[in-house]
């Protein structure tokens, strides 16, 4: 049986860009993202989507993305997970993820108070992962999507987004969810135990351009959301990432190219009214040993 490679290097592209609805109405970009690689085993990726109608959700999403990333980095160190080469149990991860989210919510409350901003005006969703070559720890509140791949042309969703009856009806870290029942219902955590070759986190502004989310179901004669990552979107972009890695582009150069793609690389992205954020992370090929 082949052994899992416990160390790996990764190429990441991450950017948040304005949708043309916000450009037309002079609203700031309300999405934020944060990406960190504390060591050569583990990495952290976070995407936050500020509520379209919350007045200062750009500040909220920025604050939450940075704070969650910080909490998760601390979590790795404190629990010494960064020296582990296996995933913690589901129970341990859930407990720690909920703690990190609650702490971030408390800090956001203090920030709101100090700045004199109503907490609802900072509303945003949260998608966060801790990843390693042997799996992913995932948590999320609200909508957005995430995809992963363990083999070429094989992409799956990491979780189901929370959606209400209406489009964009969702919950936020600022919502009234911090009760035992609320956490049970609205804070999702999971563990993926698999050798991941690539993954992506995205805000809902990117979902129509990269996931099958609203397609006709012939058998049931209705539209449905299969929550299916679109292979013909992800595979060519993985190839592009490997090319950028081969050309030894800097992180800044990669992010600039990626932001350009999210802005208008496809017709859908070009016309999308909502802000768009996507973090795409691809495992680098193992270098051939010198003869």
């Amino acid at each position: 049986m082949p052994t899992t490679n416990k160390k790996a290097t990764w190429t990441a592209a991450y950017a948040s860009v304005m949708g043309n609805g916000h450009i037309a109405t002079n609203l700031p970009c309300q999405d934020s993202c944060e990406y960190r690689q504390p060591n050569d085993t583990w990495g952290i990726a976070v995407v936050c989507d500020g509520a379209g109608s919350a007045k200062q959700s750009d500040k909220g999403s920025d604050f939450v993305a940075r704070n969650i990333a910080h909490c998760l980095e601390e979590l790795l160190k404190q629990n010494k997970w960064d020296s582990l080469e296996t995933m913690p149990t589901e129970e341990v991860w859930r407990e720690e993820a909920v703690k990190a989210l609650q702490l971030t919510r408390q800090r956001l409350g203090m920030y709101a108070e100090n700045e004199g901003i109503p907490i609802g005006d900072l509303a945003c969703t949260v998608l966060a992962v801790l990843y390693a070559p042997f799996g992913m720890l995932v948590t999320h509140i609200g909508d957005g999507r995430a995809a992963y791949s363990t083999a070429p042309s094989d992409w799956k969703a990491l979780f189901e987004p929370f959606r209400g009856n209406e489009v964009n009806e969702t919950v936020f870290i600022t919502s009234n969810i911090w009760t035992v029942e609320g956490v049970e219902k609205y804070v999702d955590t999971s563990i993926l135990q698999a050798e991941v070759r690539a993954f992506a986190l995205l805000s809902d502004g990117c979902e129509n351009g990269s996931f099958e989310v609203n397609v006709w179901d012939e058998a049931n004669q209705k539209y449905h959301d299969p929550n299916r990552p679109f292979v013909r979107f992800f595979e060519p972009n993985v190839k592009g990432m490997l090319q950028l890695h081969a050309e030894q582009k800097t992180q800044e150069e990669i992010n600039t190219i990626w932001a350009g793609f999210l802005k208008e690389g496809t017709k859908q992205f070009k016309h999308e009214t909502d802000d768009k954020t996507m973090i795409l992370v691809v495992k680098n090929p193992v270098a051939e040993p010198a003869e």
């Binding site: 043309n20 609805g21 037309a24 109405t25 609203l27 509520a51 379209g52 109608s53 919350a54 007045k55 609802g120 509303a123 959606r163 209400g164 009856n165 209406e166 489009v167 964009n168 009806e169 969702t170 936020f172 129509n208 351009g209 990269s210 996931f211 099958e212 989310v213 609203n214 397609v215 006709w216 179901d217 049931n220 209705k222 539209y223 449905h224 959301d225 679109f230 013909r232 979107f233 992800f234 595979e235 060519p236 972009n237 190839k239 592009g240 990432m241 090319q243 950028l244 190219i257 990626w258 793609f261 690389g265 496809t266 017709k267 859908q268 016309h271 999308e272 009214t273 909502d274």
Partner: protein, 222 residues
């Protein structure tokens, strides 16, 4: 060179219904109806130019004078030409709004049955007059407020020169009082509406919506 060449999946667009309830009573004759017709044509053209809005926005039109007619059932603008309105008769405003509310609810049910994701519908009432005496303004007011409270739709009432401000305000929900149109600036109003649709379609549950300023077309001093 292009590094990223990912293709786009073929997703069916989510729907946003905008129901227009338009006063075509006799008092709208002359410049008001001419300007309203021009505004509607410009609204149509603005949506047609916006690829995403054209695929998401369904428009329904109910007119009222002595008769109430839904002259346009909910449809994407690709599927109909904007009609030219004719005027005549009295002002059966309340009956017209009720008919439009029924049509809106029916469409929502159809979205649900067919599994189509939808934004909260937008209802826009435009009137220059006073409802006929037999019209149940108080009853309608309660129905609209209850619908707003249960998040069935958003509602705007636009008053054209000579409208009864008190009555229109009574009809409008608490969070969106009647808006008086400056002169006959229907063009500016519909431009604002098409811009606002982008914001409305991003609104999230339970939060207030910040729309672009209405200063281009609303008369804010009474």
């Amino acid at each position: 060179m292009s590094y990223f060449t990912g293709e786009t999946p073929d997703n069916y667009e989510q729907k946003c219904l905008c129901t227009l309830i338009l006063d075509t009573s006799g008092s709208m004759s002359g410049q008001p109806i001419r300007e309203l017709n021009r505004g509607l044509q410009e609204f149509y053209a603005a949506i047609e130019e916006d690829l995403i809005a054209a695929n998401r926005l369904e428009v329904s039109i109910t007119t009222f004078g002595s008769n109430i007619k839904t002259i346009q059932e909910p449809a994407l603008i690709d599927n109909f030409d904007m009609p030219t309105l004719n005027i005549g008769g009295t002002t059966r405003l309340v009956d017209a709004v009720r008919q439009a509310m029924r049509k809106t609810e029916e469409r929502k049910q159809w979205y649900k049955e067919t599994g189509q994701p939808y934004y909260r519908p937008i209802m826009v009432l435009i009137t220059d007059g006073e409802p006929d005496r037999d019209q149940d303004v108080a009853g309608l007011s309660k129905e609209i407020q209850a619908a707003i409270d249960s998040k069935k739709f958003t509602f705007w009432g636009l008053g054209v020169k000579g409208f009864n401000h008190q009555v229109l305000n009574q009809i409008c929900p608490n969070n969106a009082p009647a808006l008086p149109l400056s002169g006959y600036k229907f063009s500016e109003f519909f431009k604002w509406l098409s811009n606002s649709i982008g914001i409305i379609t991003q609104s999230k549950e339970g939060e207030s919506i910040d729309l672009p300023p209405v200063s281009d077309w609303a008369q804010m001093k009474f």
